[in-house]
């Protein structure tokens, strides 16, 4: 068997190189997020948001932008025979799950490097929330990466892939979004960041990440069977 670390690095490197070359996912995700913020700004007719409304606008936008990337995560494997090439190699197939989740995590972090400053510029009075928000972003992204990779691998063989991913992913992401908005809400409170139940929500996010990471690791091998 090829060492898992080498196979993981090979698959992740291949995905990131292909994305850098084609820019098929990231620009669409970023453009969607920025456009959504513009629509929210004029639709709500507000120059400043706080509390639960700010958290809701941020996380709904990031989640729907993430769906665009999740939809395309396995397209190259499906259309260019990557699944077969990887299935023929002497590697643990859960390495593919880990590498794809890592690639999605990189896309989500890159998306947020663009979207969150735009959100702050449009809606926040100060940037004080952004520091602690980073922890919420990372933990939520880990959960989205695990769930999204799992759902994307299941949906990629379907002709209704674009429909199936949001239909299956969004209900599974509800607990994640509840915890993410719960942790974000006090950070964006009027009068500056607060930390009411912040730690509890972070723990919920970490638990979600652990559960879906383990589920993905456990079932991914079966998903690749014919």
């Amino acid at each position: 068997m090829t060492p898992s670390r080498a196979a993981f690095a090979a698959i992740l490197g291949k995905d990131l190189r292909a994305e850098l070359r084609t820019l098929q996912s990231l620009p669409a995700m970023a453009l969607f997020a920025v456009t959504s913020f513009v629509i929210f700004r004029f639709g709500l007719d507000r120059t400043s948001l706080s509390g639960s409304l700010a958290a809701g606008v941020l996380w709904a936008t990031l989640l729907f932008a993430a769906v665009l990337g999740i939809n395309r995560l396995f397209v190259a494997e499906r259309e260019e025979g990557g699944f077969d090439a990887i299935r023929l190699a002497p590697i643990d197939r859960s390495v593919l799950f880990a590498a794809k989740a890592a690639a999605l995590l990189v896309y989500l972090l890159a998306l947020e490097l663009i979207a969150v400053p735009v959100f702050a510029l449009f809606f926040l009075d100060s940037a004080a929330a952004l520091g602690p928000l980073a922890a919420v972003l990372v933990l939520t992204d880990l959960g989205l990466a695990a769930t999204g990779t799992l759902i994307s691998s299941m949906a990629v063989n379907s002709r209704a892939r674009d429909l199936l991913v949001p239909l299956v992913l969004l209900p599974l992401a509800v607990p994640l979004m509840i915890a993410a908005t719960g942790a974000t809400e006090p950070l964006m409170a009027l009068g500056g960041p607060g930390y009411h139940r912040f730690g509890t929500w972070l723990a919920v996010l970490a638990l979600y990440d652990l559960i879906f990471g383990l589920v993905g690791y456990a079932v991914f091998d079966f998903l690749l069977e014919d």
């Binding site: 291949k14 190189r17 070359r21 299935r87 023929l88 190699a89 002497p90």
Partner: protein, 223 residues
């Protein structure tokens, strides 16, 4: 790399009553044969006879629905994990990423097969030269002709020095020069076994030890 050699008394292939169903349709039924290590098997039959299905079962990409399948001493589907890395599969699709260059694709495959560093670079360079692809090796696969993609696919197939080659129409899209180069890479010899699916028996018959004829709704015949 194909380091786990088949035991000396074990044939490369042993099939008995192999069946593969797709839902209610049976694509393969009652296929049985033995192929000694180092021998070549030619698979013939009309479209839809199950030739590609047979190769995909042997490559561990499809699970058999019934019968006994032993490949290089490994029983399928239970021991499929032991077999991967010991077979080279050339199918209808080149299994190459269109946005990567030929060299990047081969490097990627080399790493999946446990080859790294200078050893991988040397092997990739050797194969690109053998396939006459050195000058076009750094172009994106999407920009290459079908024949050049086939040459790269042949390189991918033999990159890890497999013990068994499973070749589905290996001459597809190749010109006369390409066919000669391909013969050097995937031709008989070198102690490895081969299963070749083709619609051009005259080309491959002289280098085959056995012929398997598959028919639609008929019993498979070995000669």
């Amino acid at each position: 790399m194909g380091s786990e050699n088949t035991p000396p008394d074990e044939p490369a292939l042993r099939l008995a009553g192999l069946r593969r169903d797709f839902g209610e349709r049976t694509a393969l039924d009652g296929v049985g044969l033995e192929l000694a290590a180092g021998e070549s098997l030619l698979v013939l039959g009309p479209n839809g006879a199950g030739k590609t299905t047979l190769l995909r079962v042997l490559a561990t990409l499809l699970r058999p629905s019934g019968g006994e399948v032993r490949v290089l001493g490994c029983s399928l589907p239970g021991e499929a994990w032991k077999l991967r890395g010991r077979i080279g599969y050339l199918g209808h699709e080149p299994l190459l990423y269109r946005e990567l260059s030929g060299r990047e694709n081969l490097r990627f495959q080399a790493r999946l097969h446990g080859l790294g560093g200078e050893r991988a670079e040397a092997r990739v360079a050797e194969l690109l030269a053998a396939a006459g692809m050195e000058r076009r090796a750094d172009e994106r696969v999407a920009a290459l002709s079908a024949g050049m993609r086939q040459r790269l696919a042949i390189c991918r197939c033999v990159l890890h020095e497999p013990e068994l080659l499973l070749l589905d129409e290996p001459d597809s899209n190749l010109d006369a020069e390409g066919r000669e180069l391909a013969r050097a890479l995937i031709g008989p010899g070198g102690g490895r076994s081969r299963v070749v699916v083709t619609h051009d028996p005259e080309r491959f018959l002289p280098e085959s030890d056995q012929v398997l004829r598959l028919g639609i709704g008929e019993a498979a015949v070995v000669s």
